[in-house]
């Protein structure tokens, strides 16, 4: 092991080492001032973020081909670091109010973050497996962090049982791929599969299917989405915000690298199943979201639908598909973070959490800025120009049409129209209805900064779409294949 190898995983390593040091540092921080730990975590994440531009342009693999650093993984690192940094800002007041301002929260978050970043770096399926676990295990604990609140504990147990079940599928799939191809390194797999078909193609296909199931659970794609609404609803809202935006980005980072680059020679085999998953997720997510009266649950179903949109890009394949997926992940992550920031702001008081849509009535008059943030976020999730969501969907649709999946592109448009039913309802509730909820919302500048940054990014990604696509394309060109 040399420094050269370590540099291929700079950002995840900073997070893991930072988390470990933070555990020690936290011992010296008195109980009442745990926000110091939060700021230390914020500094670690900024350091990881700073490593991204410093390394931009590299394209190397390290640790005997286990991991790679290229524009693709660096983009994912940067995106995840931004999400995590904003999430830390959101936790300050909320965790205090919910009584979960404990020092271990932030090291666990950093460990999860390092696992998520590793998903984009992994060029070996065994590293993908370890990274999935490294992001999941701290998240199980974070979901249950608000114990002894029953809903938090139940959310953690449910996430844990289904997550462990999914890991079982993932690891058995990896075993079958190893049995069929004799390697689990993505670059070697590409080489092995490019030639004549291996004798054990049945084993290989079964393995690929199982890996897809295992990762499908992580990104909440239908029909593997059953856990999502309950887990999202029960977990502390700051954790939900982190899970919804960062886990999805990390999961898709791994899916992209495995399917679009490692298993690219098998594309005609996996394209149809992924397209079907995309269709199912879009339909289930959007239709069920229509019936929700709780904003947190609604966003959970919306996140299933968005997994479907992103899978459309994966099914489209090729560099165009990869670029559209990365763009959409960035826009979705920041947009949903803005929505969660508003929910966190409304639930950082003394009263119990309440995410019922009724509590948002009259928000437009009471708190115009918060209402504006939520409104922009809803419009972007719906895909209205000039927000990021519009351009995201545009790129996904053109990638899908470009590779002959016109029917899927049409399904994407139709389900997006359906989704107007619930996204617009939120906006109507805020601006058109008079609210009875007059609970004061105390200002908190880190939270306001995070919410505004996410909103500005949502609008900014839309306006600056072409330079960002340019950046993503440079990243994808440098990918280690």
């Amino acid at each position: 092991m040399a420094i050269k190898d370590l540099l291929t995983v700079t950002a995840p390593a900073i997070c893991a080492v930072g988390g470990t040091l933070l555990l020690l540092l936290d011992l010296a921080i008195p109980r009442g001032s745990k926000s110091t730990t939060a700021w230390a975590a914020f500094a670690v994440i900024l350091l990881a973020l700073a490593s991204v531009p410093a390394q931009w342009g590299v394209s190397t693999s390290g640790f005997a081909g286990m991991v790679a650093a290229d524009g693709y993984s660096l983009f994912v690192d940067g995106l995840l670091a931004v999400i995590a940094a904003l999430t830390v800002l959101l936790t300050l007041r909320y965790n205090e109010a919910r009584g979960i301002m404990r020092g271990e929260f932030y090291p666990l978050m950093l460990f999860a973050l390092s696992g998520m970043m590793l998903m984009g770096h992994a060029t070996n399926l065994i590293i993908v497996f370890i990274a999935v676990e490294l992001l999941s295990i701290p998240l199980y604990v974070l979901c249950g962090f608000a114990r002894p609140r029953v809903d938090s504990e139940e959310s953690a147990l449910k996430y844990f049982l289904l997550g462990a079940f999914a890991s079982g599928f993932l690891v058995y799939g990896i075993a079958l791929i190893y049995g069929a191809a004799g390697t689990v390194s993505l670059t070697e797999l590409t080489a092995a599969l490019s030639g004549p078909k291996p004798a054990d193609s049945a084993l290989l296909y079964a393995g690929v299917a199982l890996v897809l199931v295992g990762l499908g659970f992580k990104v909440a794609a239908a029909p593997f989405h059953m856990w999502t609404p309950d887990v999202y609803e029960g977990a502390p809202t700051t954790v939900t915000a982190f899970m919804a935006s960062a886990t999805k980005a990390a999961g898709f980072a791994a899916i992209l690298r495995i399917f679009l680059f490692g298993l690219a020679p098998l594309m005609e085999t996996w394209q149809a199943p992924i397209a079907v998953l995309a269709l199912l997720s879009m339909i289930v997510g959007n239709v069920v979201a229509l019936a929700q009266t709780n904003l947190k649950r609604m966003l959970a179903y919306s996140s299933i639908a968005h997994a479907g949109y992103v899978l459309t890009g994966v099914a489209a394949g090729g560099d165009a598909g990869a670029s559209a997926v990365l763009f959409y992940l960035a826009s979705y992550a920041l947009t949903s973070l803005a929505a969660f920031a508003v929910m966190i702001a409304l639930n950082s008081g003394e009263a119990d959490e309440n995410h019922s849509l009724d509590t948002y009535a009259g928000l437009g008059r009471r708190k115009p800025l918060l209402a504006f943030v939520l409104a922009v976020s809803m419009l972007s999730l719906l895909g209205i120009p000039p927000t990021a969501g519009f351009f995201g969907k545009y790129f996904l649709i053109s990638a899908a049409i470009g590779s002959g999946l016109t029917w899927l592109a049409i399904a994407l448009v139709i389900t997006s129209v359906i989704s107007a039913g619930f996204y617009l309802r939120v906006i109507m509730t805020m601006y058109m209805r008079d609210g009875k909820n007059e609970a004061p919302i105390a200002g908190n500048w880190p939270r306001a900064f995070a919410a505004l940054t996410a909103t500005v990014a949502t609008l900014g990604i839309g306006i600056l779409a072409s330079p960002i696509v340019e950046l993503i394309n440079t990243g994808i060109k440098s990918i280690v294949r």
């Binding site: 092991m1 190898d5 995983v9 893991a16 988390g19 470990t20 555990l23 390290g62 640790f63 005997a64 286990m66 991991v67 404990r102 271990e104 090291p107 666990l108 460990f111 999860a112 390092s114 696992g115 590793l118 065994i126 590293i127 370890i130 990274a131 676990e133 490294l134 295990i137 701290p138 199980y140 604990v141 249950g144 962090f145 114990r147 079958l176 069929a180 004798a199 054990d200 193609s201 049945a202 084993l203 296909y205 079964a206 299917a209 199982l210 199931v213 029909p223």
Partner: protein, 165 residues
């Protein structure tokens, strides 16, 4: 031929133990069935040129993980399971997953029956060889897993300590 007989016998024990886990009404019996299954797996590791893994299997799985399971079951007093807790109540929606797994098993069987390859190859698998590989080629996953263990340890402590408020 005798060798195959040993395999079939052990395989039968393994499947019976797994079914015991599936149908047992007593959580402790279920845990012991699982220990038996893991023990048979250790024997298979020995037969498959993996002596070191066989030892690890016994010490980590049977010795640590399953003891922890049995300990928790007894701590919680959850030995006796309700009568309804047997393998008969299956929600209709779950048939999809079951069908999928059936297809999987069938395709694995098909692949194994149609291929003639799979002749045993020999290779060094002593602890020294494993150690060298662990610290060279597999140094990175080794480090990553150590972070994972730390995270799990912190998590377990966070979840179980009572707050001194």
């Amino acid at each position: 031929m005798n060798e195959l007989l040993v395999y079939i016998l052990l395989g039968a024990v393994s499947v019976v133990a797994a079914l015991g886990l599936l149908f047992s009404r007593n959580a402790i019996y279920a845990a012991l069935f699982l220990v038996l299954n893991f023990g048979v797996a250790a024997v298979f590791y020995l037969l498959m040129n993996a002596p070191f893994l066989a030892v690890i299997q016994i010490s980590v799985y049977a010795g640590a993980i399953m003891v922890l399971f049995v300990f928790v079951i007894m701590l919680l007093g959850a030995e006796q399971l309700p009568a309804a807790d047997t393998g008969v109540r299956i929600k209709a929606s779950r048939f999809v997953i079951i069908a999928g797994v059936a297809v999987l098993v069938a395709s694995v069987m098909y692949a194994l029956l149609t291929q003639s390859s799979g002749e045993a190859a020999t290779y060094a698998s002593d602890p020294a060889a494993i150690g060298v590989m662990l610290y060279t080629q597999y140094a990175f996953p080794f480090e990553a897993v150590s972070v994972l263990l730390l995270a799990a340890m912190v998590g377990a402590v966070v979840l179980t300590t009572r707050d001194a408020k």
